[in-house]
């Protein structure tokens, strides 16, 4: 089952929310969450549930060991054991393609989506936090199971730490205000996935599939937008569904800001995951030189890239990001961080070029394709400025692209925010008009997204 499945959105989630609403006690809500998560994961892959619950119970036991008053070597051994457990679980469930050629271990597809494998990161973060003292070892395994495998947390959600979630797991309330805010967050996220992502996908495939100048530039821009929209959409749905269930998560996806250079881009992409990886990697070198910290940040980039794919070019993209991040930490930030207009323009050009380079490595599968794309960018040996496929894709999705551009482009986004703020701050009637307009837009987006998903399901 996936987050964009109609049976999940319009059948599974409402029933679970309704069941959770029936009883006020948090223990009951946790129980409903665990049962529904079992169904969520057993949907299609029942035996995965057995493996997952076994690993979660092991996490709980190792957390007890890591958080105990035993000697540090024992506690450290528990952390390493948990790291090995979760890495092997991750490889088995998500990246089992690397076992190709090992016979019995060969599995053709990943068993669960990468997003769902966040539970391995969450399980390790719990043991790590117990070791560092950030969280207390939990004696009741039900809380650990609810924290680790609850499906609102299992979508590609922010890496919430157990120390932050423990109070919410023990005491939370599902209120009308939270449900309303949850819908306000989840519906635009769904619209991003159902409407905006296909638009960007169409433009990207048309542009990068051809050999034209405009196709090269616009195609890569659309590809980057597609990835950003996909991630922010998934995060929005996750945070929205969490809010409906009474959870509050931190934001994990931030708008792209050229001022932050590549370090800012890498950090803002999946902030909570990056912070956790950096924390784990820099933990042993806290009191050492800055060079080691830079190295840890660079290694962090490669590890985070390998979290998504073990493809050669994705790892290469991670390596390039690591190189640039290390260079920025060492000297580039000082060079490009000037307050003058020319320094700002140069830093913006640098960040955009680096982003294009990193994302292009994740798109192409061979150096020949990459070289052809670079040639098309420069207009060398191309088939013209724009081909018919690109024009068709642009005109077909004109409205969606325009709306997405307005919502994503910082100046227009800021202008929209200022206008609505001004209107709602003028009078009570203005405030009401803005709220009603937002409600109407939400309903329209919901209908559009549902109809688009239903149409797509018919095709499948």
């Amino acid at each position: 089952m996936q987050a964009t499945d109609l049976i999940f959105l319009f059948c599974f989630v409402p029933i679970t929310v309704l069941l959770s609403f029936l009883e006020a006690s948090t223990e009951y809500k946790n129980f409903i969450l665990i049962i529904s998560s079992v169904i969520f994961f057993s949907w299609g892959k029942p035996f995965v549930v057995c493996i997952m619950f076994t690993s979660v119970l092991l996490d709980w036991l190792l957390g007890l060991a890591a958080g105990s008053r035993r000697p540090k070597t024992v506690r450290l051994a528990a952390v390493w054991a948990d790291l090995a457990l979760n890495v092997s679980m991750f490889l088995l469930l998500c990246h089992n393609g690397i076992f190709n050629g090992i016979g019995a271990l060969t599995l053709k597809e990943s068993l669960i989506p990468v997003g769902a494998a966040y539970y391995t990161v969450r399980g390790f973060s719990y043991v790590f936090d117990c070791f560092t003292g950030r969280a207390e070892a939990e004696k009741n395994p039900c809380y650990i199971i609810a924290y680790t495998v609850s499906y609102p947390l299992m979508l590609p959600s922010p890496i919430v730490r157990y120390g932050d979630m423990a109070p919410q797991l023990r005491q939370r309330k599902m209120t009308g205000g939270m449900i309303s805010r949850g819908f306000d967050k989840a519906v635009p996220g769904l619209a991003k996935l159902a409407i905006a992502v296909p638009a960007m996908e169409a433009v990207a495939s048309a542009g990068l599939g051809g050999d034209t100048v405009l196709g090269g530039w616009l195609g890569m821009l659309a590809y980057i937008c597609r990835i950003c929209l996909w991630w922010s959409g998934m995060f929005d749905i996750s945070i929205g569904i969490g809010s409906i269930f009474g959870f509050t998560y931190p934001e994990s996806f931030e708008k792209f800001d050229p001022k932050g250079l590549v370090s800012g881009l890498a950090e803002s992409f999946n902030r909570t995951l990056n912070h956790f990886a950096a924390e784990v990697l820099t933990a042993p070198v806290k009191k050492r030189s800055g060079i080691l910290k830079v190295l840890a940040a660079a290694v962090c980039c490669v590890i985070v890239a390998s979290f998504y794919s073990f493809g050669k070019f994705v790892l290469l993209a991670g390596g390039l990001a690591a190189l640039l991040v290390a260079a920025e930490q060492l000297f580039l930030k000082k060079l490009l961080g000037g307050a003058s207009v020319s320094a700002k323009i140069i830093s913006c050009i640098y960040t955009c070029t680096a982003s294009f380079a990193i994302f292009s490595l994740t798109y192409f599968n061979s150096f020949s394709q990459l070289a052809a794309w670079l040639r098309s960018l420069l207009g060398i040996g191309t088939g013209g400025f724009a081909d018919a496929a690109l024009k068709t894709a642009l005109t077909d999705w004109l409205f969606v692209i325009a709306v997405t551009a307005v919502c994503l482009f910082p100046p227009t986004r800021g202008l929209l925010a200022r206008v609505t703020e001004k209107l709602s701050g003028r009078s009570a009637a203005g405030y009401g008009a803005v709220r009603i307009a937002k409600t109407v837009i939400m309903c329209l987006l919901l209908v559009l997204s549902a109809s688009t998903l239903a149409s797509a399901a018919i095709v499948v």
Partner: protein
């Protein structure tokens, strides 16, 4: 009753003063003060209490009753509290409207998906529940497919989505150029027409290919390839439609005109139709060439016979063939369309 709903809406702000800066000045005037009174009884009571306190303070400060003025200072804590309560009440009001509207839409879609069915409870790909189908996930997958596949909303949503996309220009259905109106195949989709003429006197064959669709769904079957459906229209009024996926092939033949076996010879600019020597329906009137040539606007009726032949090829090894190859290899066409 309404108050109970508002009590359920727990709006907790960590920094109310900051929130209030962005919000309208609900506590600024007497008229706006009524908003809170009208929406929430508690707010009304609080405002009355605050007014009484203000009156008491003013009376004690100013003995002259004619000079009694209610202070309008923003610094007054009572005014600030009043504004905060009014703001909370108004926000709760619109939050309730927002939640109710979205829930109605959400539940309507969900219930329609769940309740309105086409009537065929068990589809052809129905999988019985047993240990094997449960363990390999095919049972739950078939449930997912049936959820949308048997629902009437699938078609309704498709139509509604088409209308909305048309209205908003999404996917450019309103912008797409339609240079020529092709015949409509069995699926109802318009297709472009490509006419093949043979100067050797063979029947004119019209092929109508549509674009192939490759559906990648790693959760279900890895990669399923849906081959293009090809409509072949003969001038005698027979239409053959072939459509096959990675797991099945469907071919159908329909007739849109009374069967009159003719041989059409196309040479250069003129076409000559010669009736065969042995006409089986001699009582029928002779047909003119104009009557035999099907128009592009002809809608093919439902196919009388549909034959489904499962293909045992695994999905990974399914050969992807061009529409033209598919049509001529799979359908044994003869002049009379049999």
């Amino acid at each position: 009753m309404e108050d109970d709903k508002y009590n359920d809406i727990d709006l907790k702000f960590t920094d109310k003063s900051a929130k209030r800066e962005e919000s309208p000045d609900f506590g600024g005037s007497a008229g706006e003060r009524r908003i809170g009174q009208g929406l929430d009884g508690c707010t009304g009571e609080a405002s009355e209490m605050a007014e009484r306190e203000n009156e008491a303070e003013d009376i004690s400060a100013v003995p002259d009753a004619d000079a009694l003025v209610i202070p309008e200072s923003d610094d007054d804590p009572a005014e600030a509290a009043l504004g905060s309560l009014a703001y909370d009440a108004v926000e709760a009001h619109y939050t309730f409207i927002n939640l109710a509207a979205i829930l109605i839409v959400f539940l309507t879609i969900g219930m329609t998906l769940f309740l309105i069915r086409e009537g065929k409870r068990y589809s052809t790909d129905n999988v019985m529940l047993n240990m094997q189908t449960f363990a390999d996930g095919s049972y739950t997958q078939s449930l997912s497919n049936r959820y949308i596949g048997e629902s009437k909303l699938g078609g309704l949503a498709s139509k509604l989505g088409g209308l909305l996309r048309y209205a908003y220009g999404i996917n450019g259905e309103s912008l797409k150029e339609k240079p020529e109106q092709g015949p409509i195949d069995a699926e109802g989709s318009e297709t472009q027409t490509q006419t093949v003429t043979n100067p050797q006197g063979e029947p004119v064959i019209t092929t109508t290919p549509v674009s192939s669709e490759v559906v990648i769904n790693p959760e279900i079957t890895g990669i399923s390839v849906t081959m293009p459906s090809v409509t072949i229209t003969l001038q005698s009024g027979f239409t053959g439609v072939i459509k096959h996926t990675s797991t099945s092939m469907t071919s159908s033949f329909t007739s849109t005109a009374p069967f009159v076996p003719t041989a059409t010879t196309t040479s250069g600019e003129s076409s000559e139709t010669t009736p065969p020597e042995s006409t089986p329906t001699g009582s029928e009137p002779p047909t003119t060439p104009e009557e035999q040539i099907p128009t592009d606007e002809t809608t093919t009726p439902a196919p009388p016979t549909v034959t489904t032949t499962p293909v045992q090829t695994p999905p990974e090894e399914t050969p992807v063939t061009t529409p033209a190859q598919t049509s001529f290899e799979q359908i044994p066409l003869t002049a009379d369309g049999q």
